[in-house]
Structures are given as structure tokens and as C-alpha cells.
């Protein structure tokens, strides 16, 4: 504690607000004058995008679409956590299971979730199930892989200490293997959540007719409303930022902070 600089331990760091705000002002100005200079009448200026967001709010679409997208991510990502974390821990611990299943996982992992869209539609039709399935696919592999690697990279001395005190079986998993792996698991969850949020938008452009992805493709197709297209993109970015911030907050808990660098 005492080793850190006082400015960094303060609960509120004004620079963390002021500096990104300054960046935003500069970029918004560049955007505005860039559009003016190009003379484009299709691409919106920042204030038009803001007006687009207000319009979506008034029509009740914004909330509806945000909820629809978050609902799908919650299910797909939640299922991926429930299956991926225990599976990864088991594969990391039991070598025969690792040998049997890891090649399959590593072969499925590089297939872009977008490539699964036709298959998902074939299996699940145009319903919420298809995007949930795609999000599940996109996030389950990084979650499994990071949980597995976390167990394999665990410091041997923790395992030995636990075995020395007679801790075996399920308690060994609960008291030592899981907590030792947790920091790296959380990092995997953060990456997977980012991927899930990317995939829900792509899936909604094709497989369903609600959600932020649908909003974008619909605004483009029905009347070239690029102000609404960009409004949708802005909302996707902001929500992604919030989701990432939530997982980062988890990474600062006392039980896992030791595994995340010098903080």
C-alpha cells in the first residue's frame, strides 16, 4: 500500500475523467468539421447522431433494442460461463481429458461465429435461440481455454502446500485450484464478453428483427438513415465500455487482485 504513489491510491482521480473527456472533445470536433469539409449529405454530424438517439428514445425503440441485445448476451454468455469454467478447470486438471478434448476445442475455436450463422438459422430458425447459440459459441471457447490454462499455469507450490495440509478432492478445487485460477479466468471472461458483444450485433443483422444490430441494418435499408446507423454504433460502443468496466471492477476484488500485475 505504502509503496504506491499517493495520487494513485486516491479514490477519485480527476485525470481519469478530464483526459478522456478532452480526447472526446477533440475527436467530436474533427468529426464535425471533417463532415462539413467533405460536403457529404448522407453521413451525419455529431449533433445529428445525438438527435437520432433522442428520436429513438422517444419512439421507445432504443430501450427495447438495448434490452433485446443484452438479453441475448446474458443468456449466451451466461451459459458459456456455466459450461466453460467447470469444463476448463477439469481439462486443466485431468490430463487424459485434456488430451481427448483439447484438440477439438482448438479446432472449433478459430471458426468465426459469423460462419455459424447459416447453421444456427438452419437449426433454430429466426428466433432468439439462434443469436443466443452464436454468442454461446463465440464465448465458450475463450472461457474454456483460459480456465484450462489458468489451472495448468498454477504455481506448483500452492498445490503442494494444500496437499501437505491434507486437502484433496472437491475441497482442493474449491479452496485452492479455483481461487488460484480465478484471476486468469476473469481475464478470459472479459475477453469473451467483448467477443459476445461483437457477435450479438452481427447475429442480429441477419437472424432476428430486434436489437441494436437489427436497428443498424434496418436504418440503412429503410431510407438510408445514417444518423440512426451511427446512433446504433455509438450505443454499442458505450454499452461495450460499461460491460468491460464491470468485469474490470471484479478484477479489483481482494481475492483476485494479486493476479493482476502491480495493482
Amino acid at each position: 500500500m505504502s509503496e504506491q504513489q499517493p495520487g494513485k491510491t486516491a479514490w477519485f482521480d480527476w485525470r481519469a475523467v478530464a483526459l478522456p473527456a478532452a480526447t472526446a472533445v477533440v475527436l467530436l470536433a474533427a468529426w464535425h468539421f471533417g463532415v462539413v469539409a467533405s460536403g457529404s449529405d448522407l453521413f451525419p454530424k455529431p449533433h445529428e447522431v445525438l438527435a437520432g438517439i433522442v428520436e429513438l428514445l422517444q419512439r421507445g425503440l432504443l430501450l427495447k433494442y438495448v434490452v433485446a441485445s443484452l438479453f441475448r448476451v446474458t443468456w449466451g454468455f451466461g451459459l458459456a460461463v456455466l459450461i466453460g469454467v467447470p469444463l476448463g478447470l477439469l481439462l486443466g486438471w485431468f490430463r487424459p481429458a485434456f488430451l481427448a478434448i483439447n484438440p477439438l476445442i482448438q479446432a472449433l475455436r478459430p471458426i468465426s461465429p459469423i460462419a455459424w450463422i447459416p447453421v444456427a438459422i438452419l437449426w433454430f430458425g429466426i428466433a432468439d435461440t439462434a443469436p443466443v447459440f452464436l454468442i454461446f459459441l463465440a464465448s465458450v471457447f475463450p472461457i474454456t481455454t483460459s480456465s484450462m490454462a489458468a489451472v495448468q499455469n498454477m504455481q506448483l507450490v500452492y498445490l503442494r502446500a494444500a496437499q501437505n495440509f491434507g486437502v484433496r478432492g472437491l475441497p482442493l478445487f474449491r479452496r485452492v485450484i479455483f481461487p488460484a485460477a480465478l484471476p486468469q479466468i476473469l481475464t478470459g471472461l472479459r475477453i469473451a464478453l467483448g467477443v459476445a458483444w461483437l457477435v450479438v450485433v452481427a447475429a442480429e443483422m441477419i437472424a432476428v428483427n430486434s436489437g441494436l444490430g437489427y436497428l443498424i441494418i434496418d436504418a440503412r435499408n429503410a431510407g438510408k438513415r445514417y444518423d440512426l446507423v451511427v446512433a446504433g454504433m455509438v450505443m454499442i460502443g458505450l454499452i461495450g465500455l460499461v460491460l468491460d468496466g464491470l468485469v474490470r471492477r471484479l478484477e479489483r476484488c481482494d481475492e483476485v487482485r494479486w493476479g493482476h500485475g502491480r495493482n
Partner: protein
């Protein structure tokens, strides 16, 4: 030595690790043989990298000897045992638990009240009161080492295997920890195997010092330290023992300037 109270009996034990190239194993231990009696305090000294940790890990049941016979408490070592607690050279304190949770780690089968009492006792002994709720990342290296020592002592094992446990401590803390360890050992009649590279430390603590050679290591000598405790560090007997071990390790304590003549 009476056969009945021998708790560690190592005979003609060899240990090699698979090297980087097949067919060229790294020979670490050769023809190791020694015995330890119940309640004895034995120190192991030897040059860095000679195989002290390896030997202790074989005794602790974490790795298996390549060849030989290793009996601990009358039976071949099958694996780690809560009755024989290890203090690891590379700190084995759990970073996700607080100081008091770490110290109480081995006591999960005891009633909560007894556990709390015992944790408080050993936390105080290693001088960490006030840090019960701290996490290891908030402690210094020496404080973390003391957490591990407290965790080992709190388990009240019959035997302690300690691998350079005081290496990270400052001089004064080290002196205090040595005195505490001897006190606990005398009060509870534990058997202690203690690895150190500090010859003075070995002579201050041990009933007997095993001196290992360079790798591949064998035990080149056993020096019995038959001196009353607490030990007088200026007594003739103490200095003789120390100088003998220095000589065995190929150094003249006075000429090499390792110790100041008194």
C-alpha cells in the same frame, strides 16, 4: 541409535531429473544415507544448487526418489502428510487469503473457537498482530515468510521440513525466529529437518548438521553439535563446530573473511 525411535531412515538413495536432452539425466543426489531420531533437530547445509531442496522434497513426499529406500515414521513415503508440514523455499502463502485465513488453513477440521485461538497465538508469535486481515500482496517478503512459518506451526505437526525458512528475514527477526523455533521444538518435541545455507544458523539450531557436497550431492559428513541451549556464540565448542563445517565446505572461515575472529 535405538532402532525404535528412528523417524527418518534414508538408505542409498539416488535422485536424477530428466534433462533437456534424452539419455542425459541430471544427477542430483547420489548414495544419500542418514537417519534422524524422534525429537531431533537436524540441519542440512551445502552449496547452492547441490540438491538440498530436492532431498527435502523427497522426504516430504512431493517427488519420488529414483532409487533407494526412504522411510519416514516407519513407512515408505507415499505422498505429503498433514503430520509432516513443509515450509517452502519459494513462498507458498496463498495470495487470495488474508493472513489469518492462511495461518488457519490447515485447521479446517477443528472447531471455530479453537481455530481462532490458535491462529491468534501463532500470528502473535511471528509478530504479525495488526495484520490479521491483510492480504499477502500488502506484506513484505519477510512478513510473508513469517505467515508461512506461522501456518506450519499452527498445524501442530509431528515433523517440520523447513527449506531455508528464514532466508528472507532481516538479522534481528531471524534471531528472534530461531529462538522461538527452538522454544517450540523443546516444548513440543517435534522432529525438525531444516535446510539452510547459513552455517552459523545451522550450528546455533541443530543437534546435528549434515554437510552435503556439490552436485551430484552426497552427505560428506555429519557434525554433532553437542552444546547446551541457549547456545553461547562465543564458546569454544560453538566456534570449533562452525570452523569444522566451514573447512568441510572447503573454506577457511578466518582466512576467507567469512567470519570475524573473536
Amino acid at each position: 541409535m535405538a532402532a525404535t525411535d528412528v523417524v527418518v531412515d534414508v538408505r542409498d538413495t539416488w535422485m536424477s531429473f530428466a534433462g533437456n536432452r534424452p539419455g542425459e539425466p541430471i544427477h542430483v543426489l547420489e548414495r544419500i544415507g542418514f537417519q534422524v531420531r524422534h525429537g531431533e533437530f537436524v540441519c542440512i547445509v551445502g552449496p547452492s544448487g547441490c540438491g538440498k531442496s530436492t532431498l527435502l522434497n523427497v522426504l516430504g513426499g512431493f517427488i519420488e526418489e529414483t532409487r533407494g529406500s526412504v522411510l519416514v515414521e516407519g513407512a515408505p513415503v507415499k505422498g505429503p502428510d498433514p503430520g509432516r508440514i513443509f515450509v517452502f523455499q519459494e513462498n507458498g502463502v496463498f495470495p487470495w487469503l488474508t493472513v489469518e485465513q492462511n495461518v488457519g488453513f490447515g485447521l479446517w477440521q477443528r472447531p471455530a473457537a479453537e481455530r481462532a485461538e490458535r491462529v491468534a497465538h501463532y500470528v502473535r508469535m511471528v509478530g504479525l498482530n495488526g495484520f490479521e486481515r491483510a492480504y499477502p500482496r500488502e506484506l513484505s517478503g519477510g512478513m510473508r515468510q513469517r505467515v508461512e512459518i506461522a501456518r506450519a506451526l499452527a498445524a501442530e505437526a509431528r515433523m517440520l521440513f523447513m527449506d531455508e525458512p528464514f532466508g528472507a528475514l532481516d538479522f534481528l527477526t531471524r534471531l528472534k525466529m530461531r529462538a522461538d523455533l527452538v522454544r517450540i521444538w523443546q516444548a513440543e518435541r517435534k522432529t525438525i529437518l531444516f535446510v539452510t545455507h547459513d552455517i552459523e544458523e545451522a550450528v546455533q539450531l541443530a543437534d546435528r548438521v549434515l554437510v552435503m557436497t556439490r552436485r551430484p550431492a552426497t552427505i560428506q559428513a555429519e557434525v554433532t553439535v553437542d552444546l547446551p541451549r541457549p547456545r553461547d556464540l562465543d564458546a569454544r565448542g560453538y566456534l570449533d563446530c562452525r570452523d569444522r563445517i566451514f573447512a568441510l565446505m572447503g573454506m577457511d572461515a578466518h582466512q576467507s573473511g567469512v567470519v570475524v575472529s573473536r
